[in-house]
């Protein structure tokens, strides 16, 4: 049971990651690219947080007694949860900048196709 659950977590994350990256690379529409990157980032976050999961353990919020009596045996790994917090914020920042660049590109060119300019220039 435990193993199946964990493998499902990883499968979920990996499908989101690779699917998102494929969408981001293949599509010509910039908004779709952004959506792809957001999906991929969510996938990475799921993978990252799953690495700390241990079946049938407590969340790492422990009272005094638990903290002094071998807390490592009763709690899940807290590190990936802290890392994922950082990673989510980085994702938000990159996505917002990406979106505003897409907005400015749209304002100037009237299109959100990333290849449309190259066809009649260069």
């Amino acid at each position: 049971m435990a193993l199946v659950l964990e493998i499902l977590f990883y499968l979920n994350g990996i499908i989101l990651l690779t699917g998102g990256l494929i969408i981001a690379i293949i599509s010509r529409n910039i908004i779709k690219m952004i959506i792809g990157f957001v999906l991929a980032h969510t996938g990475v976050n799921i993978i990252l947080v799953s690495t700390g999961y241990i079946f049938n353990r407590m969340p790492p919020i422990l009272n005094k007694f638990q903290q002094t009596n071998n807390p490592a045996a009763i709690s899940v790994d807290p590190v990936p949860q802290a890392l994922v917090l950082t990673s989510i914020v980085i994702g938000v920042a990159t996505t917002s900048l990406f979106m505003f660049y897409a907005l400015r590109y749209y304002r100037d060119n009237g299109t959100i196709d990333r290849d449309s300019m190259e066809e009649h220039n260069d």
Binding site: T18, I22, I54, I61, A82, L85, V89, F100
Partner: protein, 229 residues
Amino acid sequence: MKKILILMIFSFLAVSLMLFFMQINSSKSSMQSISGDYYLTSNAKDFNIPNVVTSIVTQYRGYDTIGEITILFLSIIGVFMLIKTTGFSEISKLLQEPGTIVHTATVILFPIIMLFGAYIIINGHLSPGGGFQGGAIIGSGMLLLFLAGDKKELNRTATHIVESISVSIILLIGLLGIYYLNAFFANFLYSLGTFGSIISGGIIPIIYILIGVKVTVEFFHLSEYLLRS
């Protein structure tokens, strides 16, 4: 042709990742990692707070958090620059006029959301939550104000001042750590308070409240820029 190549590369990536994690899982399930073990065991004597994730975010790996708030700060500055060069055009005019339900619900919900967010921020070291989570809650609660048709212009100078000052205070607290204990971001107040009360854990709640203020302002900024650009 190109698409097939990309598909092949990424399915290869997916399969190898899946193999990797399945193998890892079966070989070392139910074993705590080296770092996790250290953090969990030494948290009680180092910082004396219940939430271990908070002490990792603000203390054990506090330098990463400095980088994190720097990234948020940079993204707001970048968005500010892009908006200034694009110029404002009122997208908000295209939004529908809010109905009575939205308006009334905002009046009732808004104070509750603010209170909840503040609770999440202040109790970040005692219960699940913290500055980032609470800041995101309050920031998106403020989005409700826009949806309810609040047309008031934001005072941009004031928000910039709040943003800059809150980050700078975090850095200055870190510098005080150099002054007292010769290590950046060291917890020079660690003996303060008793386990489980609001004032405990030394500089951790102070840092988390400052982060909360900053994240609130920035989420608010982001949604405001997106709606009014």
